[in-house]
């Protein structure tokens, strides 16, 4: 083997620090009492408690899925802390000055653009810190055009009818094992509502961060775009370094009505465990968008670089005629990471279109799988899908798999799937080196080229971050 690819060293996790804030937690364990406690703590209406309890009772009847190509010790659900809120000095901060300085420092280290930084970056940030939303910026500005952007708890208090109407309408509580668990115990998340005809004037952004060592993060995101509305939503995730495995089971629901458009971008960089596979986040997430209206449009873009285990399939249900679903993904795994990720495109309406572009990069001893479903139902006249899934392997001990499921029940449909597997060619590297570009830099450039189709879809700030993140994660793997 070429010696260029041999020196595998560990890349330290840049965001691994713990913030010491007195948490207001419930004892570990899950029962109806814990769910009642969470619900009471958050002052929720009865219908929401009912929803949680129904989900919990259904979850008890379910078994953990094992079809994904990932191996991990099954989490002990009785050892997880289901509620952990940073202890507030006052019920709500009047200004940024009142926010715990420790907390602010955490965000500064993370580089979250908050307050003035937010203004400079032009981003409104709803920061979720261990399940409770701490501060929301730009709310007023958005309110002026009728947009609701707030924490999930606040939405339950202020806009119960909207939440009741859409919660569980895309991902029912019975959907799958982790969605059921989330429906029972979710603590907070984000809520976005874009009214009819409004184009959201700025990108909305949320940073999620898991802080408490034993806490699971069960956030819930609901985004509704009414007729003709449009929004671009960014989600970034980091978690500090712990040697136990933490569970992250989120549910994201998107609803797009007639001609509405939702673009959802994620950069996921949860702690992936160390180079021997100790610790790291179990990222078991259910993300689904419903193109409910005619000519609606939902687009998922994800850059997955973190987590010990990733089990994630952002999907589109193309119900409305002429609706469009898109999925652009870069998934990078290194060391002992395992990722089983992809998408589902369910064509129900006429002339629906979907595009899937997936780029998988595996290095070290990692395992990286694309798993996707394209389903064309009998009434989906003229449905069209194009999928391209490329994998790149770096080193001899990693693996790359492609598992596309294609189910077609309408003869007018056209579905195409292509997948290739390759490595960085020695000739390519030589070409760069001849021109004075060191191997490490050359590899970074080749990988950026490989991922170009996906990065192009990211908002500018994210594209820059994603590019840096990939070279950071691969540092030391090659060269």
């Amino acid at each position: 083997m070429n010696s260029t690819f041999t020196g595998v060293t560990s890349q330290e996790y840049k965001y691994g620090f713990v913030t010491d804030i007195e948490a207001d937690s419930v004892a570990p364990g899950l029962s109806e009492d814990v769910i009642r406690f969470i619900s009471a703590k958050k002052g929720e209406p009865d219908w929401l408690l009912d929803f949680r309890l129904k989900a919990y009772r259904h979850w008890l009847t379910m078994t953990e899925p094992d079809w994904a190509k990932v191996a991990y010790p099954k989490p002990d659900f009785q050892k997880i802390v289901y509620y952990s809120a940073p202890k507030a000095k006052a019920p709500k901060y009047a200004s940024m000055d009142e926010v715990d300085p420790e907390l602010k420092r955490t965000f500064e280290k993370l580089g979250v653009p908050l307050n003035e930084q937010a203004a400079l970056a032009g981003v409104a940030v709803d920061v979720v810190f261990d399940s409770v939303s701490v501060t929301t910026t730009y709310k007023e500005k958005l309110k002026a055009v009728g947009i609701i952007f707030c924490s999930f708890s606040e939405a339950v208090r202020e806009h119960p009818d909207l939440v009741k109407k859409y919660l569980g309408s895309v991902v029912p509580y019975s959907d799958n094992f982790y969605a059921a668990l989330n429906s029972a115990v979710f603590t907070d998340g984000s809520f976005v509502f874009i009214p009819k005809g409004v184009a959201c004037p700025m990108d909305l952004s949320t940073y999620f961060r898991i802080n408490n060592k034993e806490s699971g993060q069960f956030e819930r995101t609901l985004i509704v775009a009414e007729e003709g509305a449009s929004v671009s939503y960014l989600e970034g995730c980091t978690a500090p370094q712990f040697d136990t495995n933490q569970l992250h089971a989120a549910v994201v629901e998107l609803v797009a009505l007639d001609q509405a458009s939702i673009k959802y971008s994620t950069v996921q960089n949860w702690y992936a465990g160390d180079k021997d596979g100790v610790g790291g986040i179990f990222n078991f997430v259910t993300k689904r968008g419903l193109c409910k209206g005619r000519a609606s449009h939902i687009s998922w873009t994800q850059v997955e670089t973190g987590s010990a285990i990733t089990w994630k399939y952002p999907s589109c249900i193309l119900l409305g005629d002429d609706s469009i679903g898109e999925f652009y993904s870069v998934a990078l795994t290194n060391h002992k990471q395992q990722a089983d990720t992809g998408t589902k495109m369910v064509h129900i309406g006429r002339n629906t279109k979907s595009t899937i572009i997936s780029k998988g990069i595996s290095a070290g001893d990692s395992s990286n799988s694309y798993r996707g479903l394209v389903k064309v139902q009998p009434k989906a006249e003229g449905a069209r899908n194009f999928s391209q899934c490329d994998s790149m392997l770096i080193g001899q001990t990693c693996s790359a798999s492609t598992f596309p499921y294609i189910e077609v029940q309408n003869r007018s449909a056209r579905v195409e799937h292509e997948a290739t597997t390759s490595k960085i060619g020695e000739e390519q590297l030589l070409y760069f080196q001849q021109r004075g570009i060191p191997a490490e830099e050359a590899i970074s450039m080749i990988i950026n080229g490989f991922c170009k189709d996906v990065f192009r879809e990211l908002p500018m700030e994210f594209a820059v971050e994603a590019t840096k993140l990939l070279s950071l994660k691969l540092e030391g793997s090659v060269g």
Binding site: F5, W67, V376, P378, S391, L393, I394, G395, Q396, T397, C398, S399, A400, S401, T402, F403, P404, Y405, I406, E407, V408, Q409, N410, R411, S412, A413, R414, V415, E416, H417, E418, A419, T420, T421, S422, K423
Partner: protein, 432 residues
């Protein structure tokens, strides 16, 4: 819920006494069968193939056709190129009067498996992966089949014919045939084998074919499944190709109400394999191909082209897995699944899969589901064909592509006629 085998219709087959020979193999298979349930669609492997139709049926071993088929009955299935190199089985029983293996070069042995001794140590050792229910059933209870042995460096010029005719009479329970075939090519040997399954009436057929291709040997294998429209066919094929060997197969599925082909091929260093397939379906047929191609060692090459043409309310399933083992560097694997849906109720489910554990490889796969190209239709119409003929001709072309390289001329011709008839393109004249 699915009943256990003890309570399932298949249990009727296990109550017959265990045949002589291969005791250890049979005991192991039977142990696996005991208490095993008929798989249902909640299992990933059976997700697209519902065996519910089998649950309402009872099965019993097929009996020899009585009166024995006259040679006139067999004649239509015999190809002139393979007159003196054929073994014929009726209802799973060897038909000596219809068989003839006198035209083989010295040293080549082609004979019924009932005449083989357990010295055939290869049986049950080839291939990898867990057997399914139907393969275990065959191993536990097979009584007949064929053995084909080709010695070192013998290049057999004539193609060989393995013909399975099924005409079982029903008496309430569904007759079951369990043919077993073992093919072993020694170093540098070369052979062309045609395996055909024909039938009438309702029955269950579970053939198991085991193949060993030694270093540098070449086997070309044509497999034609023309079971009756009421029949069930669950076939397993297990092949091992040694260093530098080649195994090229083409599986053509036309018959069967419910059928599955389950080829599994293991390639050693520098070995080559082709695993092509065609399923031409109509009515209520369901045909499933579950293939596994394992590049276990470096420098292997594989090509797989699987085509389905689906009409009526039929359903085609393709689940093709290619695995490149750790260290199997410089593997070159290509897989294609191409599907044509002809009717409103037709359905196709395809799942091409790549699992790769080595970095210096060239692997790709593709899948396409669609209808005929409107430009091609327009072209033919502009040359004076009416729309229906144009559609039929293109459909024929899509399917017949796989028949072109069948080396036995009479077989190629008869299959082309069959495809012409099935695609309603016969009215265009004799294109075969």
């Amino acid at each position: 819920m699915t009943p256990a085998v003890d309570a399932s219709p298949l249990s009727g087959l296990l109550t017959v006494p265990r045949p002589e020979g291969w005791e250890a193999l049979r005991t192991a298979a039977e142990a696996r069968l005991t208490g095993q349930e008929l798989p249902d669609t909640s299992l990933e492997d059976w997700k697209y193939l519902d065996l519910a139709a089998l649950r309402d049926l009872a099965f019993r071993p097929a009996v020899a056709a009585l009166p024995a088929l006259a040679s006139a009955d067999v004649q239509p299935y015999v190809h002139p190129e393979m007159m003196a190199s054929r073994q014929v089985f009726v209802n799973g029983f060897h038909a000596p009067h219809a068989s003839c293996a006198t035209g083989l070069p010295p040293g080549v042995r082609f004979f019924p498996i009932s005449a083989a001794s357990e010295a055939c140590r290869l049986l049950g050792t080839l291939g990898e992966g867990a057997p399914d229910l139907f393969e275990d059933l065959n191993t536990a209870r097979f009584t007949e089949g064929a053995v084909l042995l080709v010695p070192q460096n013998v290049r057999v010029e004539v193609p060989l014919h393995l013909l399975f005719l099924n005409r079982p009479a029903g008496d309430g329970a569904l007759p079951t045939v369990l043919p077993r075939v073992l093919v072993a090519l020694d170093r540098g040997a070369e052979l062309e084998l045609v395996e055909e399954h024909h039938g009438e009436g309702a029955y269950l057929s579970c053939p198991v074919v085991e193949i060993r291709v030694a270093e540098g040997a070449i086997l070309r294998h044509e497999r034609i499944q023309r079971e009756s429209p009421e029949a069930f066919h669950f076939g397993a094929l297990k092949a091992e190709v040694a260093r530098g060997g080649q195994y090229h197969s083409r599986t053509l599925s036309f018959g069967g109400r419910l059928s599955r082909q389950r080829p599994r091929v293991r390639l050693a260093e520098g070995a080559e394999a082709t695993l092509d397939g065609l399923a031409l379906l109509g009515g209520q047929q369901v045909a499933d191909t579950h293939s596994f191609l394992h590049h276990a060692e470096p420098h292997g090459t594989s090509r797989q082209l699987h085509k389905c043409v689906v009409d009526g309310q039929a359903r085609a399933v393709f689940d093709g897995q290619i695995r490149v083992a750790p260290g199997a560097q410089v593997t070159d694997a290509q897989q294609q699944s191409r599907n044509l849906l002809l009717s409103e109720k037709a359905r196709v489910d395809t799942k091409p899969q790549l699992e790769i554990y080595a970095d210096d490889v060239k692997c790709s796969h593709g899948a396409a589901v669609g209808q005929l190209d409107p430009d091609e239709l327009f072209y033919l119409q502009s040359r004076g064909l009416d729309p229906e003929d144009a559609r039929n001709l293109l459909t024929y072309g899509f399917a017949a592509d796989l028949l072109a390289r069948i080396p036995v001329a009479s077989l190629r011709r008869s299959l082309r006629h069959l495809v012409l008839a099935r695609t309603q393109a016969a009215s265009l004249g004799d294109l075969a």
